[in-house]
């Protein structure tokens, strides 16, 4: 490929010869490009091509005496430096670079090299790893602000002039879209255009920065960084609740939380002294990663994956570094080692987590531990009151408990005759035989339970035959227990530890008779997995059976089955119980025990005692001879079954606790970081594999960067403080570079995702450093920096393009004109809702469900609670897009078309494409059609009475500009044609205006509305509307 000289040279020259006469020469800015271009080919890092043994890229080498006896560089002495001699010699044999390379060093370059050597020939490391120092602001005529001085200095060097300021309508539209992500209203535009005061623009900027929509707009990008979503990702991709964290981000931007605190709270808010709720919520940043709940995974492997995700996300987001490579080996380009990587890893290694979905269910979703219940002020007050009541009830119990021995002693003598107590308690059902129908073994345990083992048949039936109890039976209690021999040490036999009981059948067989099936009227359980409630065992229509979240919960469970008709005592009759597991393959119960309640027991209780027989035996032992354990059991039985002041206190406590937990269950939760009491050891992992630990590492920041600040604790909090320490060369540079990208389309260093040594050398390195220094000087004030940039002349330039500009600078890196680029998908949709008057401006809260084509969610997962998408009715359809529910494996399809990432991993930069699929969405998606109708209605209702007035209003609303006569003619012609067409096709008109859930305005003729609707669609799809310019 042949590059045309003007383009080629101009970009190279930008990085050259920037040092003014008075300024000290800088190696990275001034010298490295010369050496790199003219010398390194033969005197650089490649030892295979090195000539004369001379190496100029390493200072120590360049200062050594060479093969010829001369020294290439003698610091402070350009005259003695062979480099200078060889580039200035008149000898055609000696001149460097050799003539055949056609790379002669220019006079200006020679002078620079001379000055550099005279000043000591100091080398610099990679520019982004050098400390941030504010450079002197150049004096440039006409530049009002430092930003402009730096930009215009470069323009002057290239012989380009800046563009004039954009017209006011363009300005207000540009800055409004940039700062709040919504278009200005026609009223805003007209007021701003009419305001001729010199402070008008600044007042506008201040108003926008103070608006609540600012925080929403800024948060949107941060959600990409944080890989925020409403689902857990992977195969099932069930739901989670992280919106309280998302709302924290919005608040933080709106409150202008300084970036250092914004950082510290998200990395380590939980470790701050007396951390407030908000500071803990902030740590959700590092819990936004996916969590795998796929069956059969190894928890530790995924715990490691999650931590690696945190290291990578944190380093992309704050440091602009790509550390992924170091997971497996030392970095090939950057000075980071594998040990550095795992030392950072160690900071995130102590969270109380398992690596898989825990505290939630892979299918029904929820948050995995650790998580926080989030309260508003009002909720907090109520919570405190309920807690106080529970505490008081506990205290009452403690007091009443003191009488326990006395109460028991008084009650004991009555025990033998206490028929009611006996009847209301569960009694162990002793079987005559217990077998598995399909070949599992069921072995009796010491506690009377039966443990399943051996083969785990696909759909087993446990056959439990017993003699009819002497008191008959009215109900049965099924207790299920965890056991170490069971998968996952849980309660079920499926490899994930779960079971699903599909039926609990009760038969009575009278002597000589056939088994007769009994009706179970009611079932209840102390816990049911969502979607597998106990009721499903009785009522086949209501579910598939009873399950207990075996993969995540390993507590003993009980279920009670009450017969419709109690069974009277009958000698010789048999009770045949059948526990069926026919809902899902291999989900059989692992260990269980059965009890019965007497026929006349009255109201049986799920939590009733099961140990009456034992208690009677204990009571028969003389008090002095009872073991402490026996005493305890007697007391426990008494408390649970015998009316007394203590029992009343116990019941009051149970009620208070229940009220507390019931209320707590209504509170939203959000996942947070929380350190485990005992830190885990961290290791370098060979090839990055979780089961190949090598050398042990401790928490440490990368060796090549400045150390942690003095006094910083060696934990996440210290890491956070290190990120925002003034010595950290990256954090401020990364942030200002991305802020610049937000407003100008490209960063000052274009690779905003990576400032490592592979990064582009910035076109305006001084400006980047000046901004970074200013950001820190301002106290990390994000709003101040936004204001500083948008107030610049550079930002306010017109974006019209001249031939010279296209030829010289097609991507507008030099900024001789204003920036112009397509809006993000979120802004495109939000703008449409705003233009159509549909936008619901509510801030925060749970994610919402706008329109989505049928089936999108179900295409990616077969299980899980994020299936069968149903759009909200009402407000949820019209909220800003950052509130749209985000399922990672099936992300909102329109956003995907507009270059949004899937949020599976941290993404700090989106591409900006322009595709036919986007055009289809804008033309045909119901959101945009409904919004067009909204705009059409506003044109008719607010625009005026003539088509011209209405078009003018619609155009102003959509573009912030007055309609020019030529465009008016085009629009008017189209409108008239479609007015005629829809008048002749009223059915089509009705169909068109009926799109979407909102009703078309009354009092407007339907064909007219339809015609305006198509015109509004044209307006909303204009290039100048989907572009911010």
């Amino acid at each position: 490929m042949i590059l045309r000289p003007p383009t080629y040279l101009f970009l190279l020259l930008i990085s050259l010869a920037s040092a003014g006469a008075a300024e000290r020469v800088q190696f990275n800015r001034d010298v490295r490009p010369i050496l790199s271009d003219k010398c390194f080919h033969c005197h650089g890092p490649d030892d295979k091509k090195r000539e004369a043994g001379l190496r100029l890229d390493v200072r120590a080498e360049a200062l050594k005496k060479g093969e010829s006896g001369s020294t290439a560089i003698v610091p402070g002495k350009p005259d003695l430096s062979a480099v200078i001699e060889r580039i200035t010699t008149t000898s055609t044999d000696d001149i460097m670079p050799p003539a055949k390379m056609h790379k002669a060093v220019t006079k200006a370059e020679i002078e620079l090299l001379q000055r550099w050597i005279a000043e000591g020939a100091e080398y610099q490391g990679h520019w982004a790893f050098e400390p941030v120092r504010a450079p002197q602001v150049p004096q440039v005529a006409g530049a009002a602000m430092p930003v402009d001085a730096f930009i215009r200095q470069q323009l002057q060097k290239q012989g380009l002039a800046p563009s004039p300021e954009a017209d006011k309508a363009t300005l207000i539209r540009r800055v409004t879209l940039d700062l709040v992500g919504l278009p200005p209203t026609p009223e805003d535009v007209r007021a701003f255009v009419a305001d001729t005061s010199p402070q008008a623009f600044e007042a506008l900027v201040d108003r926008l920065l103070a608006s609540q929509q600012y925080g929403e707009h800024m948060a949107r990008q941060w959600l990409d960084f944080a890989r925020f979503a409403d689902s857990n990702g992977f195969q099932t991709d069930s739901s989670r609740s992280m919106w309280p964290w998302r709302d924290w981000v919005i608040r933080a931007f709106n409150d202008n939380l300084p970036y250092d605190q914004f950082t510290v709270q998200q990395i380590a808010g939980d470790l701050l002294p007396n951390a407030a709720q908000d500071q803990v919520i902030a740590t959700g940043f590092n819990r936004n990663h996916r969590i795998n709940g796929e069956g059969g995974i190894i928890a530790e492997e995924w715990r490691i994956e999650n931590i690696i995700d945190r290291v990578e996300t944190t380093s992309f987001t704050w440091l602009g570094l790509t550390l992924n490579c170091c997971r497996c080996h030392d970095h090939k380009y950057d000075p980071f080692t594998q040990k550095d990587f795992y030392s950072l890893f160690a900071f995130f290694n102590n969270v109380e987590e398992s690596g898989t979905i825990q505290g939630a269910s892979n299918r029904s979703g929820g948050n995995s531990v650790p998580f926080l219940k989030v309260t508003s002020a009002e909720q907090k007050a109520k919570l405190d009151a309920l807690q106080a009541a529970a505490n008081a009830a506990t205290k009452a119990v403690r007091t009443a408990e003191k009488d326990l021995p006395k109460l028991v002693a008084a009650w004991e003598p009555t025990l033998a005759d206490s028929k009611q107590v006996a009847k209301s308690a569960w009694q162990r059902l002793e079987p005559e035989s217990v077998t598995s129908k399909f070949g599992a073994t069921l072995t009796r345990q010491a506690d009377g339970s039966y443990l399943a083992g051996g083969k785990n048949p696909p759909k087993d039936v446990y056959v439990f035959d017993a003699a009819m109890p002497a008191d008959g039976a009215s109900a049965f209690l099924l207790e299920c227990f965890p056991d170490p021999s069971l998968p996952n040490q849980s309660l079920g036999r499926h490899p994930n530890g779960n079971f699903v009981l599909s039926d609990f059948d009760v038969f009575v067989q009278k002597p000589g008779g056939k088994p007769e099936k009994q009706v179970v009227a009611k079932a209840s359980a102390d816990y049911s997995q969502k979607g597998y409630e106990i009721g499903g065992v009785v009522d086949k229509k209501s579910g598939r059976g009873w399950a207990i979240d075996g993969p995540t919960k390993r507590d003993p469970r009980r279920a009670m089955f009450v017969l419709k008709t109690p069974l009277p005592p009958q000698a010789g009759a048999k009770l045949l119980l059948r526990l069926r597991h026919e809902a899902i393959t291999s989900h059989n119960i692992g260990r269980f025990r059965l009890s019965w309640a007497a026929a006349d027991a009255g109201e049986v209780k799920l939590d009733g005692d099961t140990s009456l027989a034992e208690i009677k035996l204990i009571a028969a032992i003389p008090a002095a001879k009872r073991t402490p354990d026996q005493v305890k059991r007697l007391h426990t039985f008494f408390r649970a079954n015998v009316e007394s002041p203590l029992r009343a206190a116990d019941q009051a406590l149970a009620a208070a606790s229940s009220a507390l937990t019931t209320f707590e269950d209504t509170l939203p939760t959000t996942m947070v970081m929380k350190e485990a009491a005992t830190p885990r050891d961290a290791f370098v992992l060979t090839r990055g594999e979780y089961d190949k630990p090598a050398a042990k590492v401790t928490m440490a920041t990368p060796a090549v960067l400045p150390p942690m600040p003095k006094g910083a604790p060696l934990n996440r909090l210290g890491l956070a403080q290190w990120l925002v320490a003034p010595e950290n060369p990256l954090t401020a540079r990364v942030w200002v570079n991305r802020a610049w990208e937000r407003f100008f389309g490209n960063g000052l260093c274009k690779t905003t995702e990576n400032l490592g040594s592979q990064a582009e050398y910035p076109l305006h390195p001084e400006l980047l450093d000046w901004l970074a220094a200013e950001f820190m000087r301002s106290g990390w004030d994000m709003k101040a920096m936004m204001k500083l940039i948008v107030m610049s002349q550079t930002y306010r330039q017109s974006s019209a393009v001249t031939p010279a500009m296209v030829a010289m600078d097609p991507e507008n890196r030099l900024l001789a004109r204003g920036p112009r680029f397509r809006l993000t998908g979120e802004v495109v949709r939000d703008q449409a809702l705003a233009l159509g008057g549909l936008l619901v401006p509510k801030i925060g809260g749970p994610s919402v469900r706008p329109y989505m084509p049928e089936g999108v969610w179900d295409e990616t997962s077969k299980y899980g609670d994020l299936r069968g998408y149903k759009a909200d009715a009402g407000d949820g359809l019209y909220r800003r897009t950052l509130y749209t529910i985000w399922k990672r494996t099936a992300a909102p399809p329109t956003m995907m078309l507009f270059d949004a990432p899937t949020r599976e991993i941290c993404t700090v930069k989106r591409s900006r494409t322009n595709t036919p699929l986007q055009a289809l969405a804008l033309l045909n998606e119901v959101t945009f059609v409904e919004a067009a109708r909204g705009l059409a209605q506003l044109m008719i209702q607010k625009g005026g009475t003539t088509p011209e007035e209405r078009l003018r209003y619609g155009y102003l609303r959509a573009t912030s500009h007055e309609l020019e006569p030529a465009a008016m003619a085009v629009l008017l012609k189209g409108l008239k044609e479609r007015l005629a067409w829809y008048a002749a096709h009223p059915e089509d008109a009705t169909k068109l205006v009926s799109q979407g859930q909102s009703k078309p305005a009354e009092g407007i003729a339907v064909p007219e509305l339809a015609a305006y609707c198509t015109t509004a669609s044209v307006l909303m799809n204009l290039d100048r509307v989907v572009t911010r310019q």
Partner: protein, 505 residues
């Protein structure tokens, strides 16, 4: 003009250099030069829009903005324009039949008569050393193959009785019985198979293909994805994502129900004529804008609306299988109006014929932890005939020569039993795939495994090796099809992958 991929390609020397400073010096220079070239390419692509996109009078005014040399411009570069590969290629197109959930190689392509003798016995302990299984206790008993095999065609390929149709095209197939992968859970293994990495965020094989070759028909997406079976792929959108490549290269899901492409149909009450009118007004106004502002992006936007309009016509026609003659429908077992794998296979052929570069069918239905015998029989009944029909149909149309057909899942299944006596667990060490056309050697059965079908013993083909080989057939050196991202040269094969010569014609 060299291929753009080479412009970004790695130099090969950079790895050898020592010293961070040295590296950064060189890289800065290289970045700058690559950047310059990229700028220039983009510049030219814009020029192409002016020249070739018919943007009307305004565009003539805009052309003047670009200054001299426009006439002498080299070949146009649109991001999706057809591109020449790095060297002459055997294959131009790909149809990937992704059997999600992972079919059992032991019942379909890898005949293990010895395994029957071990049925119900524990495997020898040395087999399981260091082995990890997803669900089962690895120390479970072995399960003999549930179906019989016989030899087919001139090549004598061993194929299961479950696949009589596939067996009938045995001589056109290249069967690999020695596939290996690194992952044994569905989502990561699918992502590895689709993108060359278990790490999310990398471009898919289809996206790389489109990036490298562009597309032949600008009126339809160049990379189309369809699905059948119980659900979409476990790995989700990332299976056909573009990673860090521009989103223009990601797979576009065509849907079997509703509109074939999202938002393809006009809103109700908007006729084709009205849509055209609307677009004409829009175009006129945008052209005026282009004349005023001069930003070439406006020309690109005008163009994308015009492409969208054409796609509204083309895509439904391509997706309408009722246009096929009855004997072709019968050959596939396709029924217009139904959502099925058979219909998707026929659609794949239609799309390929219509100039689509890469078609990927996900049929996620093979995860037989239990109910293996019945499940396999059902799935084979659904897929065997259409797969064979696709190969035969492509062949009779002369398309098989330069179209690669790929059949396979994300891993294999254990010889050990799971779920009573009729299931198999996930197994990464050994599995089977087959290929047809595009320069794959027909009639070849490559590789072998031990008597249990547990480990590969002969001619192992890792996923990375497969990718290297497929890219080779498409005309690319897998080490050179690279894109710079986050300071690194990213490739489909990462730092792995060896070309498998034995598979090539």
């Amino acid at each position: 003009m060299p291929h753009p991929a080479i412009l970004h390609g790695r130099d090969g020397q950079s790895d050898r250099f020592g010293g961070v400073i040295a590296n950064s010096l060189l890289m800065i220079r290289r970045n700058l030069q690559a950047e310059l070239r990229q700028e220039y390419a983009r510049h030219l692509s814009r020029r192409w829009f002016f020249k070739d996109c018919g943007v009307g009078l305004a565009s003539i005014a805009a052309m003047d903005l670009l200054g001299q040399g426009a006439q002498a411009a080299p070949a146009p570069i649109s991001p999706l324009a057809q591109k020449r590969p790095q060297y002459p290629a055997k294959a131009k197109r790909v149809i990937y039949l992704f059997m999600g959930g992972a079919p059992s190689h032991l019942e379909l392509f890898d005949n293990k008569p010895e395994l029957s003798k071990w049925d119900g016995k524990l495997p020898p302990p040395e087999l399981l050393q260091g082995y990890r299984a997803a669900f089962i206790n690895p120390n479970s008993t072995l399960l003999g193959p549930k179906y019989k095999f016989s030899r087919h065609g001139q090549s004598g390929a061993e194929i299961s009785e479950l696949l009589p149709h596939t067996a009938s095209v045995a001589d056109d197939l290249t069967i690999v019985r020695s596939m290996k992968t690194d992952a044994f859970n569905h989502a990561p293994a699918q992502i590895l198979m689709s993108t060359g990495s278990q790490i999310f965020g990398r471009p898919s094989f289809g996206a790389w293909t489109l990036y490298g070759l562009g597309t032949e028909n600008q009126d339809v997406p160049g990379y189309v994805v369809m699905q059948s079976g119980a659900k979409g792929p476990s790995g989700g959108l990332s299976n056909f994502g573009c990673g860090f490549l521009p989103t223009i290269y990601q797979g576009v899901p065509f849907r079997s129900a509703g509109e074939p492409v999202l938002y393809l149909t006009n809103p109700e009450g908007v006729s084709d004529a009205t849509q055209r009118d609307t677009l004409d007004v829009l175009k006129t106004l945008n052209e005026e804008r282009l004349a005023t502002v001069g930003d070439p992006e406006i020309a690109a936007r005008i163009n994308s609306f015009e492409l969208a309009y054409r796609m509204q016509k083309t895509a439904p026609e391509l997706m309408d299988i009722s246009r096929e003659p009855q004997h072709i429908l019968d050959m596939y077992g396709a029924k217009p109006g139904e959502a099925s794998f058979a219909n998707n296979c026929l659609l794949a052929r239609r799309l390929i014929e219509g100039g689509v570069r890469f078609v990927q069918l996900f049929h996620e239905a093979w995860d037989h932890h239990g109910g293996l015998t019945k499940g396999l029989k059902e799935q084979c009944a659904q897929t065997d005939q259409p797969c064979a029909a696709l190969v035969r149909d492509l062949k009779q149309r002369g398309l098989l020569e330069d179209t690669i057909v790929i059949w396979g899942g994300e891993f294999g299944r254990t010889p050990m039993v799971q779920g009573g006596n009729d299931g198999r667990d996930h197994h990464p060490n050994c599995f089977s795939m087959w290929f047809a056309g595009g320069g794959m050697k027909p009639g070849l059965t490559l590789g072998g495994s031990d008597e249990f079908g547990f480990n590969v013993t002969e001619d192992p083909v890792h996923v990375h090796d497969l990718h290297a080989t497929l890219l080779h057939l498409l005309g690319f050196d897998h080490t050179k099809l690279a894109v710079k991202f986050q300071g690194l040269n990213m490739r489909l094969t990462g730092v792995h992958g060896e070309l498998v010569d034995k598979l090539l014609v």
